[in-house]
């Protein structure tokens, strides 16, 4: 635990600004978005950051156009980002399937707010954690990272760009009003910034836009606008050449590869923290802003002499199955607090069928408090 030191460089930022700066340092130079509370701060921040360095910012006519413009710019080779909240994620759906199926790198900041529907624009929630995963037709996997604080919003946005570029796919950063609009002192200078990764270029000779590179599940990339090689992109079911195919074997091979390239590489995108003794009696599995409530409860239980640990998941999809099972091996009780009515608990239950699991779900715009977790602990 750190205390006051004079060497610390504290900056005062909110989660939306942090995501914008994370994007900038990742090399993002294209942003398109549509204003929506509580995600508008990202648009505001990138408007200050990107144009002066030759980047582009588009306030699009709607969310469909926002993500569409990102798809176009990404296919031209740019690192692109958009930001919205639940209602916008609904409108992204069709384009999201395109980005998944046609391997278009892009980062989506989803500042979750209380739903359903228009819901409450200025109230926090984590109500989209299953929605993000299953929001595209075809149901192929997506990557969802989940920050717990402003610092994470910065670092995980950088990680999101790396994963989007490396795996050629859309990556969500599952923020929350309670991170996006909460200002915190953050020390960006003392943390390790992830080294920036770019997408792998394909060989020009015999270029096939959807042929995986050697020893890889991911195709190399050439941009639309390449000076020598015409490049194709399509939302239709395609073969390696980017033209429509009706061959069931080729179609199945592509679906399998799109699944495999994410799910078989969960270890390359496993962001999590385990706090507490290895063999704790009780494990809280938490993510997002609620992970911090869990930490406060953990400290209290530890002070009271109890045996507890917290597993903080910063990758929600793909599910870190191995890490979850391992963390809970010695535990007799699992607590899953969530700012929804138990969405991620579905994953925990399927992984730990023999454990006693208490899910603490709340969806009223308030943070779960340490006292609420303590009630479950003492129940």
């Amino acid at each position: 635990m750190s205390t006051i030191t004079s060497t610390r460089k504290l900056r005062f930022m909110d989660g939306n600004e942090a995501a914008a700066w994370g994007a900038y340092y990742s090399g993002c130079r294209y942003f398109a978005g549509y204003p929506i509370t509580p995600a508008t701060g990202v648009l505001n921040a990138v408007l200050d950051i990107l144009p002066p360095v030759g980047g582009q910012v588009l306030q699009a006519e709607d969310e469909i156009a926002s993500i569409g413009a990102c798809i176009g710019a990404s296919m031209a080779g740019m690192k692109t980002m958009t930001a919205t909240s639940g209602p916008g994620i609904s409108l992204y759906s069709e384009q999201l399937s395109f980005a998944v199926g046609s391997e278009i790198p892009l980062v989506i900041i989803n500042v979750q707010r209380l739903g359903p529907s228009t819901g409450s624009a200025t109230k926090g929630a984590d109500g989209d954690v299953q929605f993000m995963r299953w929001n595209s037709s075809g149901g192929l996997p997506v990557i969802v990272l989940c920050p717990t604080d402003v610092r994470d919003a910065f670092v995980l946005t950088m990680q999101a760009f790396n994963l989007a570029e490396h795996f050629r796919c859309p990556v969500f950063v599952a923020s929350n009003k309670e991170i996006a609009l909460t200002k915190e002192s953050v020390d960006l200078d003392s943390i390790a910034w992830p080294p920036v990764q770019d997408r792998t270029p394909a060989r020009e000779e015999g270029f096939l836009p959807f042929a995986p590179a050697e020893d890889s599940d991911v195709p190399g990339f050439l941009p639309l606008g390449h000076p020598r090689v015409p490049v194709r992109q399509t939302s239709s079911t395609h073969g390696e050449d980017g033209y429509i195919t009706t061959d069931p074997d080729r179609i199945q091979a592509m679906q399998d590869r799109l699944t495999h390239k994410i799910e078989a590489h969960a270890q390359d995108m496993a962001f999590y923290e385990y706090v507490g003794p290895r063999d704790a009696d009780m494990v809280i599995i938490a993510y997002g802003i609620t992970a911090r409530t869990a930490l406060a409860a953990y400290k209290q239980v530890t002070r009271e002499g109890g045996s507890m640990a917290v597993l903080i998941l910063k990758t929600l999809w793909p599910v870190l199955e191995k890490e979850i099972v391992q963390a809970c091996q010695g535990a007799s009780r699992i607590i899953v607090p969530e700012m929804n009515l138990g969405q991620y608990n579905r994953e925990i239950q399927r992984l730990l069928p023999d454990k006693k699991i208490d899910c603490l779900g709340q969806m009223n715009g308030n943070l779960l408090s340490p006292e609420q977790i303590m009630e479950v602990v003492h129940a």
């Binding site: 144009p51 990404s74 239709s236």
Partner: protein, 429 residues
């Protein structure tokens, strides 16, 4: 320049389809401009117009129905040197309406080719946004009760600076397309044609009938004088080239010593317009100036200038876990709206908690906390300054922050003029 047609993938349209004339004219237009395939990106919509990208040796992006203009926008912004041509049908015209209007207003240098054959060919000849009410189509009577739109009229209203209304059978179609592509701004061609697979089975249409139809409307064959203006990427460049380089929010130097070195929580209960969030920021910065970690969590409705405004500020020597405040050390009460938002909290406040009340008129729920009246109205402090004045009172008490910290925060947060005015408020308390 040679033809850019993809000889291994010839057009697959129904026999007699007018789209084939447009394919040939487009290829001719490319050749006339001396363009190579890698200088062009074809962005195609859904339906028969969505097949266009496969017929050419160019860059190609085929996406969702009605959204072709969205991809073209990102692509052109990223690569202004590329010639970006969008093909869509009258179906895309309808479903992509918002994008169409935005493209006209934005004036990005794209060329939109609307292959207008008055019906949804691929799905069975249903009526589209341009189907005449007297036509017999695959949507039963529905087209009889809706009014078709004239694409050029709509696009012109939305600000398109270059419009052409023509026929797929027109002899000068290639020149018309080349002219539109050469125009530095958004250009669109509404190209009327016949769909032999669907529409023409039950409706009479011919090059002559199309010609007559076109003749009944005012001609559109190029620049729309009133709509001409600077192209989007150029206009953007003019503004952004003058913008200062971005910088991370500056690190707050540790120059003060906090009056207490344990975690402190301050709850500010106010109303919109009282600069509650700004006061929260000042308090956070003040804490940081003394090396404390801080969090500022705000609660306000979606409306502006009305309703509650509540800020929860934590100053701590340790990393902050829970950002909510169930046990504040100080509550600053500025407005009835804020009190209502946390009315249940007061009963649980301990004797050690300090409640600063801005004006004595504010009624507080029963509490054991120590209530201090600041009487700011009597001291001549404006309502909009009550939050700041309350922080000053707290600093005078050397609780949570001190005067040095508050002044350091004001210095960081505000430009010189506002800082000066703020210091006056502080000194008045």
């Amino acid at each position: 320049m040679p033809s850019l047609l993809n000889t291994s993938r010839p057009p697959v349209f129904c026999p007699g389809c007018s789209h084939e004339f447009v394919v040939k004219a487009l290829d001719q237009a490319f050749q006339d401009q001396g363009l190579s395939g890698t200088q062009i990106a074809l962005v195609s919509d859904i339906g028969c117009s969505g097949l266009f990208d496969t017929f050419f040796h160019t860059h190609a992006l085929h996406g969702l129905h009605g959204r072709a203009l969205t991809y073209a926008t990102g692509l052109k912004m990223a690569r202004p040197d590329l010639h970006v041509v969008v093909t869509m049908g009258d179906g895309g015209l309808g479903i992509g309406g918002a994008h169409l209007l935005a493209a006209c207003r934005r004036n990005l240098d794209l060329t939109l080719i609307i292959l207008n054959n008055f019906n949804f060919g691929m799905t069975g000849g249903q009526f589209s946004a341009t189907t005449p009410p007297e036509s017999i189509v695959g949507s039963g009577f529905l087209n009889q009760v809706e009014r078709p739109m004239d694409a050029c009229q709509v696009l012109e209203s939305a600000g398109a600076p270059y419009l052409v209304r023509t026929s797929a059978y027109a002899k000068d179609l290639a020149q018309a397309i080349a002219g539109a592509m050469e125009y530095a701004g958004f250009s669109a061609l509404d190209i009327w044609g016949g769909c032999p697979g669907r529409y023409m089975k039950r409706n009479k249409i011919s090059p002559k009938i199309i010609e007559e139809g076109l003749g009944r409307l005012p001609a559109r064959s190029g620049v729309i004088p009133g709509n001409e203006r600077m192209e989007y990427t150029q206009a953007v460049q003019e503004v952004t080239s003058q913008m200062p380089k971005p910088e991370l929010p500056s690190a707050v130097p540790t120059v003060c010593t906090p009056p207490q070195d344990t975690e402190q929580g301050v709850l500010i209960l106010g109303a919109a317009g009282q600069r509650v969030v700004t006061a929260g920021e000042l308090l956070g910065l003040a804490g940081m100036s003394a090396g404390m970690q801080t969090s500022l969590k705000n609660d306000y409705p979606i409306t502006v200038l009305t309703g509650h405004s509540v800020s929860e500020v934590i100053l701590s020597p340790e990393p902050i876990d829970y950002t909510g405040l169930s046990k504040p050390s100080v509550v600053i009460v500025l407005a009835e709206e804020g009190i209502q938002r946390r009315k249940h909290l007061f009963a649980s406040l301990p004797e050690t908690c300090v409640v600063l009340r801005a004006v004595p008129e504010l009624e507080l729920p029963a509490t054991r906390a120590q209530v201090i009246d600041l009487d700011l109205k009597a001291k001549g402090v404006k309502k909009a300054d009550h939050a700041l004045a309350s922080l000053a009172a707290l600093a005078r008490k050397e609780q949570v922050l001190n005067m040095e910290m508050l002044k350091a925060a004001i210095d960081i947060r505000f430009p010189a003029k506002i800082a000066e005015a703020s210091l006056k408020v502080v000194d008045a308390v």
